[in-house]
Amino acid sequence: MKNLQQKNEQEEQSVFNARLQRRSFLQYAGAGAAGIALIAAGCKKDRNFPDPGVEGVVLDFKDDFGVLNYAYALEQLEAAFYIQVASAPPTDFTAAQKAYFQDIQFHEIAHREYFKKALGTAAIGSLEVNFSAIDFKSKASVLGAAMAFEDLGVAAYNGAGVRLKDTNYLLAAGKIVSVEARHASYIRDLVSYGSFADLTTLGPLGADNGKGLDAALTPDKVLPIAGKYVKTKINVINL
């Protein structure tokens, strides 16, 4: 763990240096090709770390920490959403629904804090969210957003698992994704009872009903969807 962290810091420095040289900030789109260009630009020595010029956060997918930061970003988003819902639920939520949304809130907070601790100094900063598209007074709006977040979360973990090299982190991600799937199942049942695993409607997120497979999306597909709810600029490299 310590070695991984040190190695990560070293590599991160070189990436930051490269970025300074190129003055090139990457968005999700085209990150792959641009990432290669950055690496090709090489490690010129200019030790300004951390880089004060970076706007937003950087998800560097070159190693497990990039994947964990990606998960950390998604958990930050989910936690912020449920904290807002739990603090002032729609008035037509039942007592049971309020209680379960409290539960989910604490699950997402636990996930967020777990990643923050696991990442240590490699953790990205706090994301600023933008929930202007959600009407927190409307049950339908809140459930719709919750369903979108949970299904996207399942797709994100399922699609990113193969990138993880450390067995313990892979297992941790596996322990979290099934809880997200339980959330998704419950919330879908509130939206339409019996739709807990409607894999047909999850097709756009990579599900395959004929094979009984749930959603799975690679980070380049997930981030533009999640990004609609995040003000902070998320820069992606080495994807």
């Binding site: 193969v162 807990f196 497979l213």
Partner: protein, 283 residues
């Protein structure tokens, strides 16, 4: 010790034994050839390994054996639900959403069986029929196909076991494209598990058994939150509070031990899962 006689004896009670051992009968020659080279003393061991192969009950060590292990569990789940839908009249309340839900789950399990069988090709274990299983677990759940609540309780145990079983094999699939497929099955099982739990609790109207869609702390802080002591092994280790060395309880304000336990689903080892599955396989 006459190995052929033994196989013939088994064939009387299990007509598919040769297919189970290997879908291509010709391959049985390999076994007999191998037998010639072994001493008499070594035979029971060799026989044991063949039977383990036949029934997919070995502890997985590579991608192929993980998939056969998964296939065994999917056969178990598929037959459990299929019998409920097709051959247990009156079990699932007619005209309720439960019929659609159980049918949906049955269809997913069938799709998983077909997917795994297809992926394994001629390495797949032979098909396991309904008659291979005993869903009463030797009488422990004698009314599983006549008492809807018993049926749901066993369903919950199977789904939660399924989630934990897939998770337990993640390490062997690490970095492999098969991992993504396994994860996609794994989260479908988790959706099933949450729904079965929600059904048990009475669905949107409530009034049922006190279980949440997620696995919480059991009575007296135990790991089994299902209210069914007979399925304790299904929940062994679920009350874990620490993840990769990080204590989750109290990691933030409001994160109680129950919240910490709910936030992370724990894996089961293959040995633990096979012990559970073994209870539902005819002796």
């Amino acid at each position: 010790m006459n190995i052929v006689n033994i196989l013939e004896e088994i064939e009387k009670v299990d007509g598919e034994i040769y297919e189970r051992l290997n879908p291509r009968r010709a391959a049985m020659k390999d076994f007999f050839n191998m037998g010639k080279k072994l001493t008499l003393a070594a035979m029971p061991l060799a026989l044991g390994s063949v039977f383990q192969k036949a029934y997919g009950q070995t502890v997985p060590t590579d991608v192929t054996s993980v998939l056969n292990y998964a296939l065994t569990l999917e056969y178990l789940e598929y037959h459990f639900y299929n019998h409920a839908v097709e051959a247990a009249p009156g079990l699932i309340p007619a005209g309720t959403p439960a019929v659609g839900a159980i049918t949906t789950i049955r269809n997913h399990e069938k799709a998983h069986v077909d997917l795994l069988k297809g992926a394994l090709g001629d390495k797949a274990i032979g098909p396991l029929a309904y008659t291979y299983f005993d869903f009463t677990a030797g009488g422990a759940f004698a009314d599983v196909y006549t008492n809807y609540q018993t049926f749901l309780a066993v369903a919950q145990a199977f789904e939660d076991t399924g989630v934990r079983a897939y998770k337990g094999q993640a390490g062997l699939l690490k970095g492999n494209d098969v991992l993504t497929i396994a994860l996609q099955i794994h989260s479908v099982e988790a959706r099933h598990a949450a729904h079965i739990r929600f059904m048990r609790s009475g669905g949107p109207n409530g009034g049922g058994v006190a279980v949440k869609p997620w696995i919480s702390l059991g009575a007296n802080g135990g790991a089994n939150d299902s209210g069914v002591p007979a399925v304790d092994p299904v929940y062994a280790g679920e009350a874990t509070e620490t993840q990769t060395g990080i204590t989750i309880t109290g990691i933030a304000s409001g994160v109680t031990k129950a919240a910490a336990v709910e936030s992370f689903d724990e894996p089961l080892t293959a040995q633990q899962v096979l012990a559970i599955a073994g209870l539902f396989i005819k002796k």
